[in-house]
Assembly symmetry: D2
Homo-oligomer: 307 residues x 4
Amino acid sequence: MGRRDLKQVLNPEKGPSTPSPARSRNTGILLIDCPDAKGIVLAVADFLYRHQANIVHADQHQDIDTRTFFMRVEWELDGFQLPVEEFTEKFSPIAGRFGMRWHLRFSATKLRMAIFASALTHCLSDLLHRQETSELRCDIPLLISNHKAGERLAQFHNIPFHFIPVSPDTKSKAEAQQLELLEQHKIDLIVLARYMQILSPQFVSKFPQGIINVHHSFLPAFSGAKPYHQAYKRGVKIIGATSHYVTDVLDDGPIIEQDVLRVSHRDQPDDLPRKGRDLEKIVLARAVRWHLEHRILVYGNKTVIFD
Amino acid sequence: MGRRDLKQVLNPEKGPSTPSPARSRNTGILLIDCPDAKGIVLAVADFLYRHQANIVHADQHQDIDTRTFFMRVEWELDGFQLPVEEFTEKFSPIAGRFGMRWHLRFSATKLRMAIFASALTHCLSDLLHRQETSELRCDIPLLISNHKAGERLAQFHNIPFHFIPVSPDTKSKAEAQQLELLEQHKIDLIVLARYMQILSPQFVSKFPQGIINVHHSFLPAFSGAKPYHQAYKRGVKIIGATSHYVTDVLDDGPIIEQDVLRVSHRDQPDDLPRKGRDLEKIVLARAVRWHLEHRILVYGNKTVIFD
Amino acid sequence: MGRRDLKQVLNPEKGPSTPSPARSRNTGILLIDCPDAKGIVLAVADFLYRHQANIVHADQHQDIDTRTFFMRVEWELDGFQLPVEEFTEKFSPIAGRFGMRWHLRFSATKLRMAIFASALTHCLSDLLHRQETSELRCDIPLLISNHKAGERLAQFHNIPFHFIPVSPDTKSKAEAQQLELLEQHKIDLIVLARYMQILSPQFVSKFPQGIINVHHSFLPAFSGAKPYHQAYKRGVKIIGATSHYVTDVLDDGPIIEQDVLRVSHRDQPDDLPRKGRDLEKIVLARAVRWHLEHRILVYGNKTVIFD
Amino acid sequence: MGRRDLKQVLNPEKGPSTPSPARSRNTGILLIDCPDAKGIVLAVADFLYRHQANIVHADQHQDIDTRTFFMRVEWELDGFQLPVEEFTEKFSPIAGRFGMRWHLRFSATKLRMAIFASALTHCLSDLLHRQETSELRCDIPLLISNHKAGERLAQFHNIPFHFIPVSPDTKSKAEAQQLELLEQHKIDLIVLARYMQILSPQFVSKFPQGIINVHHSFLPAFSGAKPYHQAYKRGVKIIGATSHYVTDVLDDGPIIEQDVLRVSHRDQPDDLPRKGRDLEKIVLARAVRWHLEHRILVYGNKTVIFD
């Protein structure tokens, strides 16, 4: 659990200023994964019950291959009898007994999200509208782009716009500049909204499971450059888009969401990108929402989505 | 819990003769629904843990509208320390405390399924092949049809075929004949595989949540007769099929599964039924499988599917 | 063929100021429907060939039920040897021989589109972004809304915003005001972007096949008010959205496009509208694009989409 | 045009014995592809009109990349004034003028199809049922399998079953045996219904665009062995199946059809093949139907489907 999360919960005056009407109640969210064993659900249920938790959502999963147990449980903090600052101390014995990796999150604590964009603005425009209408609950303190295309959109949404051009020569300097901005703004999540630049391993390593990208194909098909062009050449009858966490290996990170659309011989090369844009917007927005609502658990190169 | 279920578990020599390789372990399945309250998961988890249950699958759901809690939990009977014949006695206090409706099922106990068919055999042929290859785990002691079309198929699968023609005049007599056969063969589930006859309320009342029908539209659109014809006339761009439990009101029972396909102006009246047959087969087979694996809970006119 | 269309083609200085890079060539588009007969394709092909038309797209359809023939043919005006102002005179004999309804359109002539919006802005924002990025080729001279919600968006896109509140008492006055604006701006197409008000038959009659609405269900299921609420209550496993031309009968006009998404018992009442918004945006945008590109032929209550 | 086709048309006593009610009329089908040029449609339309053809379906396509023109036109032979045996002579000048590749087919002439199967019988059973109910119009003179699994199914459908085991040592001998059977039965089309053996280039070269395979992934993802296993390991959220013509390169032939289904972390390794079987059946059956109805044109490594 990050220190900032805790502080925001404890200091309500620093809390979110625009609560979503649909999700106004403040909840705690516990994410767990550990080796599968008897008694895990019992131990967690017992712990929450003893402190009077009113559970609003619970889901668990067992991966048979790796004998791993996953759990997400969400409960109302209103009426919860355990002060959150004592949670770690009190929960640690249970976590220790089962060898749990665990995270405590609070629905009232908005994550801080940076968007990286480029010349194409459809994903950017879509994300900003979703955030403005509270479908995505987060703060967006900055937009970084290597094109000017998104500047007016950023202004419209009152989001500081940082134009950082990237060329092979300036890439490391650009990344240094980006990293400084991200640190300065205490960014939790980077969303690559058709950013089209490959981030260095050094950059990626600073945000494990903290960078979400959208690739315009149904991965693993057509990874790399020009996926629509590749799809057209191969004569596929379905195109897709994939949102995933960024790792060192290009287009190989844990897949969060995919969606597809039919195409036919009637679709000319220009039609594929046009059709695909709708997919890109949707699979990226879903991934971002699940991340912001703490619904994703990553294990190995795969994801559990507690939707 | 039905008496037959218990007997089959206790008398292994009457158990299933052809265990599916993939699901060969014998599990207990507990289905619960009750008013939502704190401590339900804890109580069930504690009960199972105390008797050394090795849980292989657990899922729960809270319906916010009606404040109802639903749960399905499945555990290995091998190693379970509570003799199944004592389950009811031991679990009743918990059930009573929370006002639970509950059912205990065993994966080793195959349900006994009757298929009702008519002139079109695509769903029939599909179901029989799935049962033969153990995708559907059940016994099919009889096939009832008002057409001869399915007779050879029944013979091929060694299933007794009962030809019972139905006309407005003979309907009540036909139903009496059907009911006698169903009782004689101790049928748990009736599947209407494009049967095309409306069952009387008296008939339906004898099998609450025990009759699954497939309707060839995405209900509630195009209920009643000739749904593909209705869809063609309305000029829809998508057709569908729906599997549901049969109730007194035509095409109005709890929906189990739906699926759809695109159509266009290019599809002539004949094309819709042809395309739709693939949907009918799939949505019916999914519904039957979920029912046989005890994955469906009905509340009001809706279903929870623990897939 | 509208007079304005012809003028714009003949007076290039009044033509479109921002040609789409992908569709920059100027084409003629001929839309035909007539009773099916031998020789129609031959007559049209011969006519175009004689005037040196370079055909870039041709499609035809025969409706078997009504024995009607439909055709859309698009050719490059560059090199076409028939001056467009003589087209009607020269083509009329062919049209007369086969009893054709026909329209000549020009890709360079942008339609003039008005958007009607209300409190929800997702479709509005989506359409404006598509227009700005030339995915939708049209002029949008005005936005009419009974809520202030879209005002800033309109300003951002430099589109005059007209706030016209509507109540049962003021409805006829409001419609008069709207009609005056529409006439003044020579509007060809009205798009109801989740407008949520029912237009009067008098209003509708002034724009035959000139008003496109999006309804948030897969029609004909759940027509009328609160379709997501209806869908939730019915327990469907799939939700949808439908774009259609507006006629006198509510939600009954010719369907242009539909799309659907899976839902499950896990989706609470709030989740359906959220998921559905993505459908609404897509089915409305597709319908608008097809209309703007003259790809839709209406016959009876159905559409042929030459995509 | 094959000699056998012509003979069957000219000698009605050798024609199909079980006409489909929906498609009973005898039609001619002309498939054309050639470099794009002005006047092609005109020339074909004129030719057919002069001989009094009553066209029931016509579709054309222009591939912009390769500037290729494709056409499929279908007309009633009843009333057609050109004896089919004179077709080639009369049509050759037109074909020569435009450099056409062309084929004339007759709907009354059933193709002769061989099915190759193996241990899994779901596609086999599905195809045989579709053929028996006239959804697939073809003759099936033989079934070849390297497993006994399909033998009873073949007997049920009165189709001679040939058990030809294949091992690395016996492969070339097995292929020789297969080829002899195929020649003896004058086979037009081979359908690999989950055959699971790789055919040699020599074998494949004898049936250009005459072998249809189904691969259990959305190609080009997960080509080669164990695609469901690969999909599970990669953690994709969508699985698919692909039907394609077989070429020398494994899983690389022209794609005919693809379809997909959602999966999630809840799907265990066993669930993917089970779900996928429904896809495999559908994409294979669609491909076979389109081939039998002469709706497919192959160009390069891609297909045009005139559906």
